[in-house]
Symmetry: C2
């Protein structure tokens, strides 16, 4: 009781308006996020509509002491708050001539999206609606607003639908009935009389269900709306949300009551949006659009053609749109021309705001009877190109410092500068077929093929598969883009496509493929081999037909930004590359070495796959060695190419990793072919394929388990690596190999492999009478390896976290099967993000940290990096920086992103 | 240099013999394990052959200072040691008349098995071999011993084979040549002349390869053997072994030189083995076997029929073997009769030894010309029954205390008392077909069937499958035993069979099944449906034909032991049981509750599987609810039965866990049947089966991921549990349900399930107007759950470690696929044991410990148990005790084992 008394003795209502405010931005705990911001906007001189905030402590009081007590406490202050609004607005709450209307909104300390709907237009009743009609000279608008208010109030405040005991929405039912009567389909087709009739029926329905009248008295409306906001704090949905997000129950929510303003009150009114700079290009030009006598939604709805704010913009627009100067002046004058004083005020404001926030601002404004109101200002959304240009321009102009400039660019937006994008006009006209995961960014159009071999049948093809496998590599390389029905962000298709810098949309549940008839079905559409289709790998969207793309163009500002970033970054950025070609691309993007070369990707081409299959089919070690001898020169040549492309920089080569069944064909036709090639029977091939099949291949015979059961494979690969490096040495080129043993789970596994590697290397050194330096280390991708990293570091010279597999095993999620529940988990909030995209710092990250600490405790010089897909994801890179890793490694096209993210991590975490 | 001087100034050779010794059992660091034991045996008065030990520090000296220095240091002491042996044995080293021969053996501080072969018969040369021939009156024995000595010395000491540059063994090559010449196959068929010829050729071969003569001088032999033992410390194999086992390189090995004794020196000589009690039954009767004028290997080889040691034993043996008293006295007299003084000495010795070691002893002895030598005494191996009886008898006789009695019984040996075993005589006569994993103990014979449905075709059948699935449950229950080609110790077949107390051999790589022709092939044999086969689930052996079994019989000592154990155990023992029948069996074995009821096992019978499939096929929630409504009464009835069987004790029920595809048929025939039952097309069934198939089902859509995507399943199961408990309450029976959510990986997943469970329970309580207490907890089986256990314990009321899955994910081993590499890993020493059998304390155990500590830090009252297969494995139980778990849960037939192991853990870990 003492606490309550303490609380109620303090101020409970904080007003704002007319560039004054009783609160400020630091009072978020008391006023909620929204309330504190509204106060602050006044304090910096913005003309925001006046209002007041009821504190969060009153919510707690309400929950403890109930409605009557709370209202009696607040009554005077709330009434004073309304008077405060009326005075500034020059209107009267609920008045028939000059009505003042308000919005009522919740506002907790932290944003809790979707917790409570806003109640707009509070104060409207049978009288005030007439005033609104008169002032706007628009009875239809007034009655439609009234209709909407009753529906919203009935639903949110009076719980009409919840009490109705029926599934259908009672208000929509009435609207639908009237549409049917009038044979119309859209709300705006209703006449004023229709709307009046609907209002009457809404009120009757409320009375019937709630056993009370819809309240005509504006203060009754206001109090009920305030109480409804308080009640929304204790709904089961809100309680669960707080439990999951660890928000204390006693924080409570504030209530914000703010004047409504209208841009549709005649020719001295209007609404618009404005940007301090060009959001598409970043150019430093004030711009925006507005409409006279219109609400904000009219500007963005596209029903009327909006006008430009500046004269310059208006002239440019007219030229592009083919509008004559006469017509422009008559129908589309700029704000600068139509309301020069308002424009001057707005222009002054935008300068002020950009200087205040030192960032490009996106403003919503309304002009009510000649008075400019700012409804909102925020840092403006912008394209990747604009983001880079604005940051670097502001740095040049000394508006911001270098660190701020680096932090201003969202690393993921750099993708837009690195990959082709669709022409926006063409894209807007296209037909959307469906959506999948944005697995690899970029835009591509092509003709559908269903088999990798068919990719070459068309000049531009899109490969469509249920899922891809290493057998499809060549076709994936030829195709413009890849579309798969299954698989997540780290599926084979996704990983390979990102490596190739090729667009890919994966995990499209709605996509059904019939390989026999070479057709696909998606959301009712059927397409066949040869049909055109377009993919946006940055959004996951799939469009019908062909869409023109624009190529990527790297600007000087982009280069400048990345050079600047390198000066700040502590983490080095390496790349995952399996070919000299990829290695060169990555080096051009600034990669400082290779963090992962997957040797198996080399085994799928032509003669190699034959020798590989010969090895798999061999009955014993002798047979395997014979086949490996054929592979040796090919592997050696591959490594020479990669070492040369990455000369002087470290190249981490992972020994054979995937299960052997990935190298044998699974369709009878291909098995027949293999049987012929190998000179054995189809039955023998089938028997071997069957023997190799596993229930859970991800947890099966792969990684170093292969090298430990067939040591001759490790021997061959080591020999190829060392011989390649020595061949380059003979040519005066320095190779820096780091040999990586995959899938280690305990020290003994590593020691066995290390012994084979060192013995083989020594043998080659002796044969060639010369040496090179090399390291032997391991991937940490099995939870047990992380748990016992202190032991493994006794022998391993480096660790590289394979966070794809580590995530799979730490969560127990198969990346290829998670599509059946991961999207649902994210939708329900059980997971905040896909852990295959963003490193799970709480769980997987705990293992990464543990392994790094344990490993370094044993061997302080241990080199530690990450080569999973998370190596190119900004928040994961920040985690790697904090954990003290030496480098991250990512696909070539993400190297720039990682460089920027590494710099941001260093800046954000400065001691 | 100072250290070396310090060391060499101390004593370097320690003699033993004639019941005196310079060392003792505490000097393992200096004398090695074997040397310290030999000294101790003398000190307690045992007549072991005399000898001396060179200390481990000399090995280090040798490695630092080299051969010359070491020999010069040791020369006097070693020669004195040989004199010491000669004096006691009354013979001369290398003498032509009366040769004294010695063995030379390594002996490190810790046993390092397989590091260095022993060199026996050192001192034999062209002269001494004549003396040996004369004394044994057996020239063939003498020359064969000489032949063996040269071969061993050549191989181990002179490295002849390593220097030969050929793959085949040079000595075996010579032997094979002579066998071919004489057209014989066995070594013992060689004549004396053959052996002399071979000896000559061996020596020539050594000279040819090693460029030096085989040394005739006994001291040269001795020194070379000693140096070879020192060298063996630094072989790569030994270095690797030390690295893996963390044995410091500077420990070094000791060298033991001991006199050889011979039981084949005429009729006053002999060899034998003896036991202080009956190793089969545990009866307190001295017994054993011997042979006159024979070596120890002759007694066990079965070439001659051994004689009994005691008169009583001899008379009993004669009666069983149908040997007349005359014949017995003539050919098979007891030692008590043939050498009464030696028998008296031996009998005195055995009394002495049992009192000294307070355990049943197994002794090897040799009588050389009337003198009794004890070669070895150790705690005797015994059957499970004998183990229990001996421990309880010794406790009764106050020879040992209760704690010692409990520790004396190996828990795993209790299996022999709980399951049928084969008649040993019959078993010895049977044909072994192959071997697999001992997946579930017991012995069974039956006629082969290849399909679960066929199990009922024969009165006794053995179900043979590549692997089993839940569809096979009914057939598995009918069959006598189960044999599978794939799968490890925690495969479906193994887990289910152990639950049923039914014999199972799994993971038989050599077994190939052809379901079409209903035949199997194994190691060259082909068997068909209906053929008899026998399985020993305790050893993994598979025999051809029918073998008579003996039933399990529980003795009063067994009961006494377990009651005694319960007084010491801190861990409670629960059981994993899915049916009232299993629950009752387990309760009879002393289970104190159920730790795991797998609800899905109930879904496979008759009508249930239909309703289950209807649910899976349903297009939406409404359809699923309809099918679930049909399952509800069946589940409720199941739970009532289990609660009743386990009344007053806690019953942990796990909600639906396996992926849904386990419930649909995978063969077209059965799919057709399902289509008819469901009234849909085969194509629809196939499409659904295909949709449910996963790449890695172990990491797929299962566990709480089902309950979170289809909450109605959790609702139905909760309702069934709560209604069942309330129904029992109405009948005055107390149910104690603990509802367990499977496969939790983060707190939110648990909260979602918990909310559904509590809401459903509250609803049922309201409907029935009565309540019961229940807990909601979770399995910890995903590494991430262990890592974030502090969070999960905010809501979970108990943890139960599902160590099967936790092992799979921590190691990244699929239990169904690990057969391709786990056996190789164990053979190569990369893994010491199968982690699915024995909990991996270093890795998986780290997670168990972490989760327990983190969980209890959040909720000190958290109940923690284990329900994986490790819950019945003694070393894992000991770990659970140390980690502070509240209970272990295991299959009914392992409850006794777990009770004993829990007591042992408590005793071993007493503060």
């Amino acid at each position: 009781m003492e606490t309550t008394l303490n609380k109620i003795s303090t101020k409970q209502v904080y007003t704002f308006g007319n560039k004054k405010a009783e609160g400020n931005t630091k009072m978020k705990a008391l006023l909620g996020g929204k309330g504190a911001n509204l106060a602050e906007m006044n304090l910096i001189g913005l003309p925001v509509p006046p209002g007041f905030t009821i504190t969060t402590t009153m919510c707690t009081t309400y929950n403890k002491q109930g409605k009557g007590f709370t209202i009696s406490l607040l009554k005077n202050d709330v009434e004073a708050g309304i008077k405060h609004i009326e005075k500034i607005m020059g209107s009267v709450f609920g008045d028939e001539e000059n009505p003042c209307l308000v919005s009522v909104r919740s506002g907790a300390r932290d944003s809790m999206p979707g917790m409570m709907d806003t109640v707009l237009n509070t104060g409207l009743n049978d009288k005030a609606v007439l005033g609104l009609a008169k002032k706007t000279d628009n009875p239809k608008f007034a009655w439609d607003s009234y209709r909407r208010f009753i529906q919203m109030f009935g639903d949110v405040v009076m719980n009409t639908n919840a009490q109705s005991n029926q599934d259908d929405n009672v208000f929509e039912e009435i609207i639908d009935k009237h549409k049917a009567l009038k044979n119309i389909t859209l709300d705006q087709e209703f006449s004023v009389d229709d709307l009046k009739q609907i209002v009457a029926e809404f009120k009757a329905k409320i009375k019937q269900i709630c056993k009370q009248d819809f309240p005509e008295d504006p203060y009754t409306q206001l109090w009920q709306a305030i109480i409804a906001v308080f009640d929304s704090w204790e709904t089961p949905r809100a309680q669960l949300y707080r439990k999951l997000n660890k928000i204390p129950d006693d924080w409570g929510t504030a209530v914000n009551i703010q004047a409504m303003v209208y841009g549709n009150m005649g020719n001295q009114s209007g609404s618009g949006v404005a940007f301090t700079r060009n959001a598409a290009t970043g150019e430093n030009v004030f711009n925006g659009e507005y409409l006279i006598n219109a609400q904000g939604e009219d500007v963005v709805s596209g029903v009327r053609t909006p006008q430009q704010i500046t004269l310059k913009g208006s002239l440019e627009w007219a030229q592009l749109a083919g509008v004559s100067e006469n017509e422009r002046l008559k129908n589309y004058p700029s704000l600068e021309e139509s309301m020069p004083q308002v424009f001057a005020a707005l222009n002054k404001l935008q300068h002020h705001l950009e200087l205040h926030f030192t960032d490009m601002q996106d403003m919503e404004f309304t002009i009510q009877e000649g008075k400019l109101w700012l409804l909102q200002t925020r840092n403006g959304k912008r394209t990747g190109a604009a983001m880079v240009k604005i940051a670097m321009d502001m740095l040049s102009d000394n508006l911001i410092d270098a660190e701020t400039a680096i932090l201003r660019v969202s690393p993921n937006k750099l993708d837009e500068l690195l990959h082709p994008v669709f022409d926006e006009v063409e894209l807007a006209k296209s037909v959307l077929l469906g959506k999948g995961l944005p697995a690899s960014p970029g835009a591509a159009s092509g003709q559908i093929v269903f088999f990798a071999e068919a990719a070459k049948n068309y000049p531009k093809s899109i490969l469509v598969r249920t899922e891809t496998s290493p057998e499809d590599l060549e076709g994936m390389n030829i195709a413009q883009g890849i579309l798969t029905a299954r698989g997540g962000m780290t599926s084979h298709a996704a990983v390979v496509a990102r490596g190739m810098g090729k667009c890919c949309v994966s995990g499209v549940g709605a996509l059904k493929i019939d390989y026999k008839t070479k057709t696909l079905k998606i959301n009712g559409e059927t397409l066949k081999d040869g049909d055109w289709i377009s993919l946006d790998g940055s959004t996951g969207k799939i469009m019908k037909g062909k869409i023109v793309t624009k190529d990527a163009t790297l600007t000087p500002e982009f280069d400048k930004l990345l050079k600047l970033s390198d000066a700040y970054a502590k983490l080095k950025v390496r790349t995952n590359a399996d070919t000299p070609h990829d290695a060169k691309i990555a080096r051009n993007f600034g990669a400082q070495g290779i963090g992962l070369t997957r040797t198996e990707h080399m085994f799928f081409e032509g003669e190699r796959i034959k020798a590989m299959r010969e090895m798999i089919l061999a009955a014993d070690e002798t047979g395997r060695r014979k086949a490996l001898d054929k592979l040796l020169p090919m592997q050696r040549a591959d490594f020479e190419g990669i070492f040369e492309a990455m000369h002087d920089l470290p190249v981490t080569i992972r020994l054979l990793d995937p299960p052997l069944h990935e190298f044998v064909p699974h369709e009878t036709e291909n098995q027949q072919e293999m049987a012929q090639e190998m000179g054995i029977s189809l039955a023998e091939v089938k028997a071997k394929v069957n023997e190799l099949s596993e229930f859970n291949p991800m947890l099966g015979h792969r990684g170093c388990r292969l090298g430990n059961t067939y040591p001759e494979i490790t021997e061959m690969q080591t020999r190829a690596i060392i011989e390649a490096a020595l061949n380059l040495k003979a040519r005066g080129i320095k190779a820096v190999p780091e040999i990586m043993v995959p899938l280690i789970g305990n020290l003994a596994e590593f020691v066995y492999q290390e012994n084979i590697i060192r013995k083989t290397a020594d043998k080659v050194f002796e044969e060639r009478k010369t040496k090179i330096d090399y390291l032997v280390g391991t991937m940490i991708e099995i939870p047990r390896a992380a748990l016992t990293a202190d032991k493994i570091a006794q022998c391993a010279e480096f660790f590289s976290f394979g966070t794809n597999d580590l995530t799979q095993m730490t969560f127990g999620y198969s990346r290829d099967d998670a599509g059946s529940f991961l999207p649902i988990y994210i939708k329900k909030g059980i997971l905040k993000v896909d852990p295959f995209q963003v490193l799970d710092q709480e769980g997987v990250g705990q293992l990464v940290e543990m392994a790094t600490q344990k490993g370094r405790a044993t061997n302080p010089k241990l080199k530690v990096g990450i080569c999973g897909e998370h190596g190119g994801e900004p928040s994961s890179i920040e985690f790697c920086h904090r954990t003290g890793l030496n480098y991250v490694s990512c696909s070539p096209y993400r190297v720039s992103i990682a460089r920027l993210a590494a710099a941001q991590a260093a800046i954000t975490n400065k001691a």
